[in-house]
Symmetry: C2
Subunit: 349 residues, 2 copies
């Protein structure tokens, strides 16, 4: 008999979620049936899209049911296997959610190559966020050499990948993030310009940073940044809309004036392309080239990434709520249990 400690959705938030929307529970897991595997969660990925799953309305996926385990991608160790495809000790990518253990159909998990990059990257630069960045750029953004690419949330899992992929494709890259430490890291990553959206002069600084206008704006934030970017979009600019984290917690539409006609007018006269996407929709068209390009770029040292790891499943709700306010710095992960592949860190003294 195996037990799993899990975090379930206790109630739906109205506006900002709070810790009371979550509840820690202990479940008894079902026995293994043929084709299933028993998994121990090592890393749980926390991502902005999860905010949408907490709402009742259908977004691009079904909501998490009340009292159900919160969804999420995970890196796990196989503890027991009733599938010929996996053996105990295998490290796999799963979708077991916010819990310590789970029983999954072997068809829904996939092996992670432990000889390559650290296994946690399967949830970051080599996983869903990295692919969202890649596919959104390749399918919609299509930056040409010398064009100006702007990305907000630029130290996040998706944004940092967007900027670096854009640089590799030859674009001039402008990254936007909040706070001096993040700005310093953007410069390390090779962004041509790094801007702090907390600056009182952010709008003016952006104008200076894009003397030739903006050809691609990768949208994953919304709000103040989108407002500022808007006026600088060039004719034929492309706007892949990946997410809108700044407005996920809004419960009522903001007061006027109504800028919708202005946006439509800009789309019309500047002949903009504004297109929403999820990474899942773009797997058939772009996953193969992602799997060819990105691990190679990472191995070559052309890509950097940063992880923000919190310890223990019980830390997940607070870390998630902080992420919605931009408090994380890098790809946000929960280390749910020990990573057997990690190089032991030498203790100081």
């Amino acid at each position: 008999m195996t037990y799993s400690t899990a975090i379930v959705l206790a109630s739906r938030p109205n506006g900002n979620p709070t810790p009371s929307n979550f509840r820690l529970e202990i479940h008894e897991l079902p026995a293994l049936t043929p084709g299933a595997v028993l998994l121990r969660t090592i890393y749980l990925s926390l991502d902005p899209y999860m905010r949408g799953r907490m709402n009742a309305g259908r977004s691009y996926a079904m909501p998490v049911a009340i009292d159900a385990v919160m969804e999420g991608a995970t890196v796990c160790e196989v503890l027991e296997s009733a599938s010929p495809d996996f053996a105990p000790g295998d490290i796999v990518l799963g979708r077991s959610g916010w819990q310590t253990h789970s029983v999954e159909s072997a068809e829904l998990v996939s092996l992670i190559d432990t000889a390559g990059a650290p296994i946690s990257t399967a949830l970051g630069i080599l996983g869903m966020p990295g692919f969202a960045a890649y596919a959104g750029l390749m399918e919609i953004g299509r930056p040409k050499p010398g064009e100006t690419l702007v990305v907000a949330g630029a130290t996040g899992a998706v944004g940092s990948a967007v900027g670096q992929f854009g640089r590799i494709l030859g674009a001039r890259t402008v990254g936007i993030a909040g706070g001096a430490a993040k700005i310093a890291w953007l410069e390390e990553l090779g962004f041509d310009v790094a801007l702090d959206h907390r600056s009182p002069y952010f709008e003016e600084e952006l104008a200076v940073a894009v003397p030739d206008g903006i050809d691609v704006y990768f949208e994953n934030v919304g709000g103040r940044v989108w407002n500022a970017v808007f006026d600088h979009l060039n004719d034929f600019a492309r706007v892949p809309v990946c997410g809108l984290i700044s407005q996920y917690n809004a419960s009522t539409p903001p007061s006027g004036p109504d800028r919708l006609p202005e946006l439509m007018s800009a789309i019309n006269t500047k002949r903009l392309l504004v297109r929403g996407f999820t990474q899942r929709d773009l797997i058939p068209a772009h996953y193969k080239s992602f799997a060819r390009d990105v691990p190679r770029w990472l191995a070559d040292g052309r890509l950097k990434y940063r992880e923000d790891i919190v310890e223990g499943l019980e830390s997940a709700p607070d870390a998630f709520l902080g992420m919605l306010e931009g408090k994380n710095f890098g790809k946000l992960l929960v280390r749910v249990s020990e990573d057997p592949t990690a190089t032991p860190t030498p203790r100081s003294e």
Copy 2:
């Protein structure tokens, strides 16, 4: 010495244009230099885009200068030619604008085949409006057989072409127009459903008309129709943005709430494609197939069109102002002078 009577832009409108924004003038035309032709205007096309040219700000083209002749496409007869490519009597498509005569470079005019459809169609279904409809559908809308295509301004030059092309491509077509006579004509054109946006129950009627949602909304109106359409867009719907006639005269943004975040959220979660275009941008990709398909469909009787012809250049300002309020019924043209190719109408009695 040839004189031209012309309508010039006397002043820029603030909000709704008025007749005082225009002025009738008589110009002396320059002598013919090699490579030029002297033209007599037969038909002048009046189109919504001209409203944008009256503003000072750059739209997708330069504004008309104060005191300059209003721009416009024309069908003309060649009176004198200093070009080996044209002879007196030739009927040509030109861009001579709101005037009775003009001297043009022969490179900017093109011969119209007088043996085919009436020469006025070179300004409508076989001209710029027809091509805008065709290219916007083919490049952006891409309706698949069985999908639902909605178009507003559906009796206009562009809208009526969009609906009929959509039907030929196998889509279910919903046309929106104002008033009983226009609705009756939409049914004659073969729209599956025709809706009157003046109905107090328009929103409810639209909901009933699109039980499977909307896959393509061809936007050339904006305002109330776009608001109503918005909620019915399916996942992966495409919105070619060709024009926004309902908002061209707005001088201040409407009061709140601000619906821009709601639009961005719909683009994100429904993975919409919203893209502005002008027909000119799409000539390289689509003109060849337009020139192959559309004259054939017209000759086959699969396409109908309707013209709203006003007499005399001096009627142009009023007719243009009326069009911005939806008063025209069909492609709006000014008959500036006699059409030598027209079949004489038998007199009654």
